[in-house]
């Protein structure tokens, strides 16, 4: 039996709040950034998420969880949302919401997929899975320790990768399966991509679709990473 999974025990949890939309902007063809002003909010840790709950006139509600992209020092909370087919919350945020609207939100939530700002970390994201990792990267840069977070961002093309501009530089790697980059030919993320970044890292955050998360976490295990050091956040449908 392995040891018990230990969360970041001081991770804060916040209750329901009213958020005011301050900015709405497209990031990629399928993603939208929504910046929220949340009065009296509990400061988040990079990696944590918020729940957005929408209520119709007849009382029907729909709620979904979205990772925070902003760093803790940002006066606003930035969510980056992928617009899903038939996604009743994501399509509302992508197509309907306007600056000045009020939304019901709850957060921050999650003490497992949360970075303490201390542990040397390898963060690997697929597509919009980079969103919580961008919060980690921004925080590390603000701490003037960009080396604490090494980001590996994977997507089909650069246009599919939100925050692709920020994902470049330092020790980071952008791995595109359908496009060559100056540092790497087109192709899926491999063990060889990750191997140079594993040494000296204490925590490994993996975020993406269930298939991506499964593939990447297996690569890490094959590279000798202890399973309890790997923190995974999966999202989306079965396949």
């Amino acid at each position: 039996m392995s040891e018990l999974l230990r969360s970041t025990t001081d991770a804060p949890t916040g209750g329901w709040r009213t958020a005011t939309v301050r900015k709405v902007a497209r990031r990629t063809e399928r993603t939208v950034v929504v910046r929220l002003d949340i009065a009296d909010r509990v400061p988040h840790m990079p990696g944590q998420h918020y729940v957005v709950r929408l209520t119709a006139d007849d009382g029907y509600t729909a709620s979904r969880s979205y990772s925070v992209a902003s760093s803790p020092s940002d006066p606003l909370v930035e969510l980056c949302v992928e617009r899903l087919e038939d996604g009743e919350v994501s399509s509302y945020l992508a197509d309907v919401v306007e600056v000045g609207d009020e939304l019901e939100v709850r957060g921050p939530i999650g003490g497992w997929f949360a970075w303490d700002g201390v542990a040397p970390t390898l963060a690997i994201g697929g597509g919009t899975g980079v969103v919580p990792l961008i919060s980690m990267l921004r925080h590390a840069r603000e701490l003037e320790h960009p080396d604490l977070v090494c980001l590996v961002a994977a997507a089909r093309t650069a246009a599919d990768l939100p925050y692709s501009d920020e994902a470049m530089g330092d020790c980071n790697l952008v791995a595109l399966s359908r496009e060559d980059t100056p540092s790497r030919p087109a192709g899926r993320l491999t063990s060889a991509d990750l191997a140079p970044h594993v040494a000296g890292r204490e925590l490994f955050f993996v975020c993406g679709s269930a298939l991506f998360a499964e593939a990447v976490s297996r690569l890490l295990v094959e590279l000798g990473v202890t399973t309890t050091a790997i923190r995974v956040e999966r999202f989306g449908p079965t396949s």
């Binding site: 018990l4 509600t61 509302y92 497992w112 269930a210």
Partner: protein, 200 residues
């Protein structure tokens, strides 16, 4: 508070859907927070310990030799998807507790997985035909992504309580929070009361 301009999906009106849930249909999302273990049945065992008369461990074969039973019904994830009309097969937790014998004073259970995942439950929520240790889904072996070879099934509570890769139930005289519960999720998790987060 109504949200400006929000209409939402067509209301299904299905009485099997708890408030705030939607029907995932054929989809079955995998949202596990840890690495999926590659666990062979012969490596797995199930233990019941803590406040019991006879702490007991069953191998895969020994667990299968217990009286089998099935669950037919619905499951509900706190992330708001539900899956309706599903079938799981395995052994009732009642069968395990009949052998182990809860001692007076046992009030809660902590379920532990091979990965180190934990979740807490009142003892009353895993007794009286309400909980199973299951190894089939729809008559087929449970896949590793969904907790195979064996997971806990407590279908009347949100599905994080149904610990994947379950290997141990520890009976306690107090409530001890598990993995998600220390991270802000509800101690009990009744979907009909929308007990999603601490304080709901």
């Amino acid at each position: 508070m109504a949200t400006r301009g929000f209409i939402g999906r067509k209301r299904s009106g299905d009485p099997r859907l708890p408030p705030g849930q939607y029907d995932a249909g054929d989809d079955w999302p995998v949202l596990t927070a840890e690495v999926t273990p590659n666990l062979r049945p012969e490596q797995w065992s199930m233990s019941v310990d803590g406040l019991v008369e006879t702490p007991t461990t069953w191998s895969w074969e020994e667990a299968h030799a217990l009286p089998q039973s099935e669950f037919h019904g619905d499951i509900h994830c706190v992330t708001t998807w539900s899956k309706l009309g599903v079938t799981f097969g395995g052994v009732s937790v009642d069968e395990l507790l009949t052998v182990a014998g809860p001692r007076p004073g046992a009030t809660h259970v902590l379920a532990t997985s091979t990965t180190g995942y934990t979740t807490n439950l009142p003892l009353a929520d895993v007794t009286g035909g309400k909980a199973w240790v299951v190894w089939t889904f729809g008559g087929q072996p449970l896949s590793s992504g969904h907790g195979g070879p064996v997971r806990l099934l407590v279908p009347h509570l949100y599905f994080w309580k149904s610990a994947k890769w379950v290997t141990r139930l520890t009976l306690l005289d107090h409530d001890q929070r598990g993995f998600w519960e220390v991270n802000g999720y509800h101690d009990r998790g009744d979907p009909w009361l929308e007990q999603r987060y601490t304080g709901d």
